[in-house]
Amino acid sequence: MSEITTDSSANPLLSLFLENFEAAGGVILYPQKGESIQKALTHMVKAEGVRYFAISSDVPNFNMVSRLLEGLGLERPQRYQALDLGITRAHGAGASTGTLVFVFSEGRDHLLTSLPRVHLAVLRREDLHENVSHATISFLKDPEGPPPYVSLVTGPSRTGDIELTHVTGVHGPEKLYLVVVS
């Protein structure tokens, strides 16, 4: 896994994306100054008190992440309901709003983004676009036909329905973490 720089002059699009991702309430695990992915992940699962996790097989560096988490004593649950942490690949992203794009055709990966309390998305830098519409439309206009379900996610699940008090984690994840790889 190669190093990523967030130096804005070197990568204005990525900087814009990370800024908007955070503004929407997401948390960037990597790249963060001076921390390796391994270290950042370790801190996160400890801070969040994660016991059960699941990871989608199309996550870049699937093996490394799985081994790391298992090494930390995390387990795969019997039932999806018990999941604390779901890790999936984001298939695209839009910098201007800090939005992640998840594309689903079959399988249970979508549950990893919607059921657990904590969701960690892994994005490849090449999949970053300026606008989320660009990032999405190419999937919708796939000559093979559009995927049945595309999920765009901007920050954690939230509400202000009771006295306008901002609360995250209503029905979806309370925390949305991000790792960007290249």
Binding site: A24, N131, I137, L140, G145, P148, G155, I162, E163
Partner: protein, 701 residues
């Protein structure tokens, strides 16, 4: 006549109900807080979108194009859904849609349905119907769930349970679950998450509404922040998409554009947390089905109506309600039948017929505040007028009142009589009408009316002036001093004036839906207007009414508000006069929002030496007067006025200047009742008082 009497008898009851609503402190405070937060959020976030008016133009055209082709676009969507293995049903009305969905659920052997927020389903009264089939229907949006368990109606389109305090919400859940729930929004939310999680996992059917449907790539777009919508759509085996016919757009690009503007315009959020896009059955487990139900229920008929067609562009962002003075005052329980707010009157008329929408329509003051924030360029006040026009059996009393007022001879006798027998200030009307004077006083009309006076002063009808003065009924019979001041002022400024034979401008008739009378008065006035001279107004409402004569084509003389005319005359010069005072200006709704005159009055005031101009957003708030409105709904009108009065009081304003006699009547009435040391006067009066020393120097120019 019987209808009129019956309606008059109903007024006191209606007044009492409204009084209760406006005096409910919890509701008022909660609404105020939510709407202020959303409106401010919107104002802050809007910058990121660039020019709003450009957006409006673009959105309007985009959506009109799609609606024009909607049949063909839906055919395409139907074909795609079916070819991908889903079903597609176009329901002609609410009953057909209810029964279809009920049958779907029964065939799936369902006992539990989870549901995302869907106004369309409320329009269809779906929940009670499904319950009658023995199906448990669970709303999953937090606010909707609170309302559902409390057995109430939403009070706000975005935050449906905003009228409930956290203590009340905790009680609702304590009762539902049979155990103590803490009154902490965070803890309540987590408990609800747990409770509803089971429902999501156990439900057979999941149903959601839809925000937008694209046709080039047939796809259904669903926006939520809580993430309940996507769980409803993806977890249960049977997915039902319920959408109105109007939700269609041509391309996915168009759909994305709507989501650029929707959350920003709605609550000031850059992007919503979740935007879920469905193109066909999502078969991640065996046996999953997708059913699309498209509801017509009057929408396709509305496409043929030149007014209601415009309402079909609505994307339900709620911005119009967040700024609406009436909505802020009475909330979505009162200012709604099925759909909320002024736009709701049009929508209720489309789906359930204009009769059901009539009462809500009559609550709208026509202030036009909503026009400034609607991204789809929907002319809400005109749609409201259209609703009233369609329902002849209701609003008979107000139509009769307008018919009487529009008869000049009659008005002349009535005001003449009143000016002789009534006290100078009426502080308390007898009986139930006492509510009218509860928070304002009434002034008796002044004598003599303007025209006889003007003729006696040597002014001529249709000749002798460089500009024609149109006084209007209120000025003519209630406040003729305003027109006398105007004549005096213009004479001093050396501007020769002429007058015209006048009828009521007709706007009051149009507002109560009496289009026959409106057209009659329009034709008469058009005939009286000297075509070659500019027409000068002392009443913003009359000016706005006459401005609209132009909609039917035909030439009108150029129309001027007093401030516009004088500024043009002044060029870059200061106004020749001075006034030492803290002066505020009240923008009449018709002047600012219907005619778009936003700068001239302040500019003119600032040219008067000594004036310390007090500015603030309150200057632009509707005063609640709105002609007869303040007499029809006194508690609402008084409550709307409050903010303006508070402002005048807090800012220590000495003088409030404005350009509409109806606003003067309303604001002065409130000021005097509150005993504020504020003088409320017309621009003409103010300028005349400021003219200490005038030369007729414009005469030569």
């Amino acid at each position: 006549m019987r209808g009129v009497l019956r309606e008059l008898k109903e007024y006191p009851t209606r007044w009492r109900q409204l009084q209760e609503v406006v005096k409910n402190p919890i509701m008022r405070e909660a609404l105020e807080r939510a709407m202020t937060r959303f409106a401010q959020g919107r104002a802050q976030a809007l910058g990121s979108l660039g020019d709003f008016q450009e957006w409006v133009e673009w959105c309007r055209e985009m959506k009109d194009r799609a609606l024009e082709r909607s049949s063909e676009l839906w055919d395409r969507v139907r074909e795609s859904v079916e070819s991908r293995g889903g079903t597609f049903y176009l329901a002609s009305d609410a009953q057909a849609a209810r029964e279809y969905i009920g049958k779907l659920a029964q065939e799936a052997g369902a006992t539990l349905m989870v549901k995302g927020k869907s106004i369309t389903s409320e329009e269809m009264e779906l929940n009670p119907y499904l319950a009658s089939l023995g199906l448990e229907v669970v709303e999953t949006d937090l606010g909707e769930r609170i309302i559902q368990l409390a057995g109430e109606k939403p009070s706000h389109i975005i935050v449906p349970a905003i009228h409930k305090t956290k203590e009340e919400v905790a009680r609702v859940f304590s009762r539902a679950w049979g155990r103590e729930v803490p009154d902490d929004p965070y803890l309540i939310t987590k408990e609800v998450r747990k409770d509803l999680r089971q429902k999501f996992l156990n439900a057979h059917v999941g149903m959601t509404g839809i925000n937008v449907v694209s046709a080039d790539v047939p796809a259904f777009f669903l926006m939520t922040n809580e993430g309940n919508g996507r769980l409803c759509a993806t977890i249960p085996n049977v997915q039902v998409i319920l959408t109105g016919w109007e939700k269609i757009v041509e391309t996915v690009e168009d759909a994305f554009a709507i989501f650029d503007i929707l959350p920003v315009n709605s609550v000031g959020l850059k992007y919503s947390s979740y935007l879920s896009i469905f193109t066909g059955p999502f078969s991640w487990k065996k046996g999953r089905q997708l059913h699309v139900v498209v509801l017509d229920n009057g929408r396709r008929e509305a496409l043929k109506d030149p007014y209601f067609k415009e309402a079909l562009r609505c994307i339900r962002c709620g911005a119009c309600m967040n700024v609406c003075p009436v909505y802020k005052t009475v909330g979505g329980h009162t200012f709604a039948h099925i759909y909320m707010g002024g736009i709701g009157a049009a929508w209720t008329a489309i789906t359930n017929g204009p009769e059901e929408a009539r009462e809500v329509a009559s609550l709208c003051t026509g202030c036009g505040t909503c026009l400034e924030v609607c991204p789809m360029g929907i002319p809400i006040p005109s749609l409201v007028e259209h609703v009233k026009e369609l329902v002849k059996e209701k609003g008979q009393a107000e139509r009769m009142a307008v018919r009487l007022v529009a008869k000049r001879k009659l008005l002349e006798s009535a005001t003449g009589l009143a000016s002789m027998v009534a006290p100078e200030k009426i502080t308390k009307l007898p009986g139930p009408a006492g509510i009218i004077t509860q928070e304002r006083i009434l002034e008796r009309p002044q004598l003599p009316p303007f025209h006889p006076w003007a003729l006696s002063r040597g002014l001529e009808i249709g000749k002798g002036g460089e500009v024609t003065l149109y006084a209007g009924c209120m000025v003519e019979y209630f406040y003729p001093n305003i027109s006398r001041d105007a004549v005096e002022l213009l004479t001093r400024l050396g501007i020769p004036l002429q007058i015209m034979k006048e009828e009521c401008c007709g706007l009051p008739a149009r507002v109560v839906g009496d289009m026959g009378l409106w057209e009659e008065l329009e034709a008469k006035n058009k005939g009286y207007m000297p075509p070659d001279k500019p027409l000068l107004f002392l009443c913003a409402t009359c000016m706005s009414g006459i401005h609209d004569y132009g909609e039917k084509g035909g030439e009108l003389p150029p129309l001027y508000d007093l401030s516009q005319y004088l500024l043009e005359k002044l060029g870059r010069e200061p106004f020749p006069g001075s006034y030492q005072a803290r002066v505020a200006y009240h923008f009449p709704c018709h002047l600012e929002r219907h005619l778009g005159i936003k700068e001239e009055p302040l500019e003119l005031l600032s040219r008067v030496r000594g004036v310390e101009l007090v500015e603030g957003e309150e200057a632009h708030l509707c005063c609640g007067g709105a002609g007869l409105y303040a007499f029809k709904y006194p508690p609402v009108a008084a409550e709307i006025l409050k903010k303006k009065l508070d402002w005048l009081e807090n800012e220590n304003v000495d003088l409030l200047v404005t350009s509409c006699p109806s606003c003067i009547m309303q604001i002065r009435g409130g000021v005097q009742k509150r005993k504020l040391p504020v003088k409320v006067i017309h621009m003409a009066t103010f300028l005349l008082e400021a003219c200490v020393e005038i030369h007729s120097r414009f005469a030569q120019s």
